[in-house]
Amino acid sequence: MRIMDLHLHGFGKYQDFTLKLEQGVNLVHGPNESGKSTLHSFINGMFYGFIKPYTKRTLYSQDHQRLLPWSGSSYSGSIVFEKDGQIYRIFRDFAKGREETRVFHEDTGEDITKMFQNAHNARILQPGEYFFGINSGVFNNTLFIGQQNIRPEGSLAYEVRERLVNSSTGGDEKISVERALGFLDEQLKDIGTTRASTSEYGRLQTEIFDTEKRLALVVEDTEKYRQLMKSRSNILKELNNTKEDLMNYNSIIHKLKIQEKLGIYRDILQIREKNKKIGEELESVLGHESKTQDDYDEALAINEEIGLINSRIASWNEQIVDIEESIEKIYTEETDFLENYQEIIEDCNRFQKLDYLAPKDESMEFLNNNRIKINRYNDFYVWSMSILSIIYMSLFFYSITQGNIIFLASTQIILILLVYGLTRIRTYKMELGKIEDISLIENEKVQILKKYEMEDKHQLYSLFERAKFNGSKAEQDKEILMEFLVKKDTLSLKIRNLSIESESFQKEQNKLLERNDSDSISKFKKGLQKKIRFYEIKKEIAHNQETIKRILKDENIEELRRIQEDYQEDFQTFESGDKDKIIIIHSSLENRNNELQLELKKVEGSLSQLEDSVEEEISLNEKLVGLKETESYLKTKKGSLEFARDRIKKLSGEIHKDYATTLNNRVGGLLDMITDGKYSGVKVDKNLNVGLVEATSQRIVPVENLSGGTLDQLYFGLRIGIMDELLSQELPLILDECFSQYDDKRLKNILEFIMKSQDRQVIIFTCQNREEESLHEIGKKYNRVDLQQI
């Protein structure tokens, strides 16, 4: 094939520009920015268009925008080329909305566009596919060899390697397994893993973990909540029962209270009755209030006095009567009266006295005898004494003159005898005297007896008694009478005095009685009693009122009365023992009720505290569901990406399985030719490391280790070779600023290599002169086209 003309009606910087190309080498020379790439792209565009081929919707490739004409409205052009002896023209309008592609036989002008309607229903026409049998990707990769530094990967070795890798499959350079895998791995990395905690997936996992942790805590609370709900339910049940029981007991207690009240009321009524009765009595004791006890006591005392006085007077009067009676008696009494009683008395008294003096009643004879006796004794002693005294006197004088103490002492004995004797004499004298006396007395006594013709003293004494009696009696009587009379007088006087006193007492008494409005003491007393009773009654009434008040306490009598009316029914009465029991039960029920209420409050308090937890649990669960869904979504996405990656790897692996042989088959021959037999084969390991097999040594030289020149050759050669093989024809080779990096030698080398095929049209775009120089050196003929700087 050979490109002949390029007509750019409006394309990039070009407007109505025509480029004519020749067979063989064409050198299109132009300074930088002269639009070489534009021309290059034009050719591509003419054959394949700028619309992405695989989408139904019109998507424009980047070139479309890039190559918009700078001015003018036209965005179109045509290309004339020769293929298999036929000359064709393709006309294309690139403008959006105006897209059109027409193919003509240049010779005949026949529109043969129809023939190129793609059997695959491609939206846009890609004549290149028909003419070349390859897609634009491949076309680009084979026909066009652009500047190396356009490629992102950079190194030539990479290029060669890629080329080698792709070569067995048709060499669509734009499709790179490594890049594809890298792209997928990027996406996988973006999603991330559990371990990559900042990645989306990692963060999600952390959030899930945290949410689950929090949920576990909250679930504890919600479980507690459920249990507390149960407790609450139970408490409420029990409260209900307790309430019922309480109600029952309350009604019982109410009845008890009523009963108590009725009792109180009854008691009050009773007391009132009492008061009523007493009140009646009160009537009868009115009016005595002014009476005083003191007055009464005084009056009584006076009365008593008067009484006493009166009784005294009475008794005195009685006494007077007695006295008068006694006096009477005296006068009327018979007595055994002795007239000479006084004489008798005197004599008897004398006798008595004499008897007293001589109680023994000794007779005269006895006395005479005694007298004689004593005289005798007396005489004895007188005589003896006289003698003794003379003795004594003599002895005494003698001892004194002699001075003999002992003798003196012994004479004292005589003295003692003397003394004794004298004493005896005295005694006898006395006794004589006594006898004399007694004789006298006896004598007298006898005289007295004789006088009254008594025989002995006893009779005398009787007489004496009689006389005494008479005498005393008479005396007595006299006395008595005197006494009586005196007494009588005294009494009368006393009576008189007392009467006066009594009168004054009476007066006083009367005064008191009058003051106290009484007729008499007894009336007074009665009156006082009534007064006392009056006050008693009053007190009792008051006391009763107090009692009523006390037992009434806070109650209202009216109410009580009403209760009495309402509760005429006879309801069960309780023993007092029951009452206590009931009260105890009631209070314990109340306690239980309160306990339960407290418990309920506590439980409800806890419940309300935990309410938030219940809500939180729900939220957390929902959140967790959402998170897990996202997790699963990411997992699925990862799964898809991994699936794709694995599939590509697998396919790539399959490709590479027999890659070596395929590669060798395809490229081996080429390699031989390109390297002039230096390298005979290619080895690719599983990591796609490419190495060339040295023909002679069979050593494997990694592509990276090849020299620049060799690489060049490989690069170009492979491209061309593979292309030729694929297409089984020779396409023009369009080189766009390929060699700017090359040194002269290398340039020459590669140019030579390329020129080997004589028939191939080669179009070289360059801004330099070196290619020209090299061509000159090689001696190759070329067509030079100059592009102006537009």
Binding site: L59, N135, S640
Partner: protein, 361 residues
């Protein structure tokens, strides 16, 4: 005439653990259930209903708190003139531990127990309400139903909680058997979709829908019982769940797709939960994130599911790249089910990876 309102399956306090909308919306949703419940009671008061029937699942008793119970009690107490009969469901059975037993319910509320059929006679309405709590055993339920005899001269209403067909957990006898009972109205609960099974036998459905399984209108049933039963479904829910399919074409921009969404969702979309399924061919490298953001501005809640296929001419791509890794890759998926989203995503991820940087797509 007895004016009644029949509701149930309200699930106050429930955990949205199977719903997809997350904790924040879940919390708000929970509160909205309370709101609507309160509004429903207010409505009953305003329209002077005589009777409010709640046919089970008023609460979610596993997540209930005392605060919640008190709240329900206060709400129900506000309908002083209404007779409220609550029949327990499977989510709020009236066991001794249930929330029903721990509270002093106001006078206007009667709660049936779990011990078989109960009859509540309401004198001033001359109506009897019969109710049986949710029962697992079909035979037991049958033997309880036998005890029900419709009374002459009264309105007779029956409340049941369960589903038809013996495969369910709480099976009900056949509709024919229920019709035979000659009730004036039978209030059913347990199924969240409102439905009239007969002219006077109805599921009231959930008051507010609870997840994307409950699309369609939700509310309660109201009616009047005189010589006949005249009743209807009243949509009352504040929010609905909707599943919308949007078919994409390769030319659509984000704005155009949003326009489509607006057309498909109607004016109430700001209040509703949407699950949008994208089908068809999506333009290549459609900015899903931007789309999602824009969608989210239009609706209350959004779940976006992408079942669309990107705009890639796989045939041509495969053909053009026959013999290279891309072509092989595409061919290797010819046996895979590309409706499986994992496989689909893998497939396209690989293609994009292989074409990355090539400017071919």
């Amino acid at each position: 005439m007895v004016r009644f309102l029949h509701s149930g399956d309200i699930h106050l306090g429930m955990k949205f653990k199977n719903a997809s909308f997350g904790a924040e919306k879940g919390k708000v949703r929970r509160e909205e259930l309370w709101q609507t419940f309160g509004d429903m009671i207010e409505y009953s008061v305003k329209t002077e209903k005589d009777l409010i029937l709640i046919s089970g699942d008023l609460f979610e008793y596993s997540t209930l708190t005392i605060k919640d119970i008190k709240r329900v009690k206060d709400t129900l107490a506000s309908a002083e003139k209404q007779h409220i009969i609550i029949s327990p469901g499977n989510h709020d059975p009236a066991t001794s531990e249930s929330p029903y037993s721990g509270v002093d319910w106001p006078d206007n509320v009667t709660i049936l127990n779990q011990n078989g059929v109960q009859q509540v006679y309401i004198e001033e309405l001359r109506a009897s309400v019969w109710g049986i709590g949710a029962m697992r055993n079909e035979n037991e339920l049958k033997s309880e139903l036998v005890k029900i005899k419709s009374v002459e001269g009264q309105k007779n209403i029956l409340m049941l909680h369960g589903e038809f067909g013996s495969n369910g957990d709480y099976p009900l006898p056949s509709i024919e058997k229920l019709i035979e009972l000659s009730m004036d109205y039978i209030a059913l609960g347990h199924i969240h979709k409102p439905e009239f099974l007969y002219k006077n036998i109805a599921y009231c459905g959930s008051l507010e829908p609870l997840d994307f399984g409950e699309t369609g209108p939700r509310g309660f049933v109201e009616g009047e019982l005189s010589t006949e039963c005249s009743c209807r479904f009243i949509p009352f829910a504040k929010r609905n769940f909707q599943i919308v399919e949007l078919e994409l074409t390769k030319e659509m921009t984000v704005e155009k797709i949003v326009e489509e969404l607006i057309l498909s969702t109607g004016e109430k979309r700001n209040d509703n939960f949407y699950r949008i399924v994208l089908t068809g061919i999506s333009p290549l490298f459609l900015d899903m994130k931007a789309l999602e953001t824009r969608f989210k501005r239009e609706v209350y809640y959004l779940e976006l599911i992408d079942r669309s296929k990107p705009d890639i001419d796989l045939e041509k791509l495969s053909y053009d790249n026959r013999g290279n890794i891309l072509g092989m890759y595409i061919d290797s998926f010819s046996d895979e089910d590309l409706d499986d989203s994992v496989k689909k995503d893998a497939f396209y991820a690989g293609i994009y990876a292989l074409l990355e940087g090539s400017d071919l797509i």
